[in-house]
């Protein structure tokens, strides 16, 4: 008897958790897109950068779940002719999902509400092209993809009707791809302003495992996909001294994300 109830509760809990992730829309856009035009020198050269990105997003369910990520990354890029660039990044990111573990059911208590996990490595590859219309204006396009090398895991201790059990939530193989178009204006002193729309797609596998003492170990997997989701980005790229540049950007697609990077042009 008791067993059945527990199992049922577990399933409810599990399903709830999974539902959250079914609609987990805007998973990590990994970082700044950068100005549509490369900062490398015209004859072709490297540029390197270090960046920080604060990412926040919401997804709608019966309740709003917010995820928040802080990313730090290092980038190496090669560009030429002031027109094209390819870049690669490696970075670390954390992940926090607010209220991921809150129970929807009075019988279940939980020791914490948020899913939280610290730094996991990710890699990003991207390429961009730029077409200058005249000396000031231009238009460019980019495509960028990110993949997380490790999984985000968090667990929570819960009780259901007084019986303790633990639930493990794993977010695996998180990846995304972004595609966008940007308009750029160059104002005096070499400052570039840019803005544009973008669309992206993200996917992850979420697995849930619950360990109920005296019951068998139960686990469930779900693969989440998104419909293409769109957003907008805007930023500014300012030359500092001696080959360094500061790039500040924000993105908006349901929630606001922003970040900055300092680059060096060889």
């Amino acid at each position: 008897m008791k067993k059945e109830i527990l199992t049922k509760n577990f399933l409810v809990v599990a399903l709830t958790a999974l539902l959250i992730f079914t609609i987990n829309g805007k998973a990590s856009a990994a970082g700044l897109f950068g100005a549509p035009q490369t900062v490398s020198k015209e004859a072709g050269g490297l540029n390197t950068a270090i960046g920080y990105w604060y990412h926040e997003d919401t997804y709608k369910n019966d309740t709003d779940q917010i995820i928040r990520q802080n990313e730090v990354y290092s980038q190496v890029a090669y560009g030429a002719k002031n027109i094209w660039e390819i870049y690669a990044r490696i970075g670390v990111s954390d992940m926090k999902i607010f209220d991921a573990f809150s129970s929807t059911d009075a019988l279940t208590t939980t020791n914490k509400n948020d899913f939280e996990e610290n730094w996991k490595f990710f890699g990003t590859l991207g390429t961009k092209g730029f077409y200058p219309i005249n000396k000031t204006f231009g238009i460019g396009a980019f495509i960028q993809g990110t993949y997380y090398f490790s999984n985000f895991t968090d667990d929570v201790a819960r009780t259901s009707s007084g019986k303790p059990f633990t639930t493990d939530l794993k977010v695996k193989n998180l990846w995304d791809v972004n595609f966008g178009v940007g308009f750029q204006a160059t104002i005096p002193y070499g400052i570039k302003l840019y803005a544009g729309p973008y669309i992206y797609y993200s996917e992850a596998k979420v697995s849930l495992a619950a360990n109920i003492p005296s019951l068998e170990y139960a686990a469930g997997n779900v693969s989440i996909e998104n419909k293409s989701i769109a957003g907008g980005f805007a930023g500014i790229d300012i030359p500092l001294a001696k080959g360094f540049r500061l790039n500040v950007e924000c993105q908006y697609s349901d929630r606001f994300s922003a970040g900055a990077a300092v680059s060096y042009t060889y």
């Binding site: 390197t48 270090i50 290092s74 190496v76 001696k242 080959g243 680059s263």
Partner: protein, 308 residues
Amino acid sequence: MKSYLTLIVLFIFLAVGCAHSPSSTVLPQARSSPQQVLLASNSDQIPAKSLGKPVGNIDDEYKDDQNLDYTNDTFKEERVEIADPLEPFNKAMHQFNDKLYFWALKPVAQGYKKVVPEPARIGVRNFFSNLGFPNRFFSCLLQTDFSGAATEAGRFTINTIWGIGGLLDPSSNKELDLQKQDTDLGQTLGVYGVGQGFYIVWPILGPSSPRDSIDIASDYFLYPVSYISPWYAGLGVWGYEKVNATSLRIGDYESLKDAAIDPYVAFRDAYIQYRLKKVKARKAKLAPSETQEVNSPSADPVLPKKEN
């Protein structure tokens, strides 16, 4: 093997300058450069070249009466000598290192050079050089060279963050102009007046002295590679670094050895001079009012002054 071995393609200039083949009698007439016009004098230039010249001219040039200790020179070449009480041991070690170079290090470095392109090898060298930051930084601090310490800190930060972990060296660019402060703890001791002591040649590590050996020992503690565990992995990395560095300098050691009449003495002297000049340069940097050279105002044009 210290970096003085990164010799000297331009010993060549000297070589060619003094170059003379006994068979070429063309040379005396071939001198037609415009500066020659200024010289009517016949006693100048290379009487040695033309054995056919009248004896009187040779005598002029080889006169005894000149002060051969060159004490009249207002600029004195510093006499650099070092005691060598361990000479038999040193000579044996020198021989050992020589064989080690030709039989082991050089073949490996040559093979490595064939396989790996130069930019990659330069990147590896930059990477290891970047790791040498603690030694250089603390040496600067101990010498109270705070600007040098700041430069080193800046170099390390920029090269690590924006130089792909130290593989690239943007700090040395003309724009950033943060030059490597080529100093170590041995020089620090030298700046404080500690003499070289005497000459020692360590197997594998090369020429040194008690003062500079302290440097070798403390460098071990300040160099991150030493802390790689297990010990043989650290040693392997250290060895790789040496192979990579040698691959960029193949030929330098051979040149010096080949040009020397007595290789052991040549290397000893080269080592001592090199270290002495470095210490002098550090001292001059710390107390700029005491520079040795007398600059006439007109002869010191506004040219970029690079640290050696």
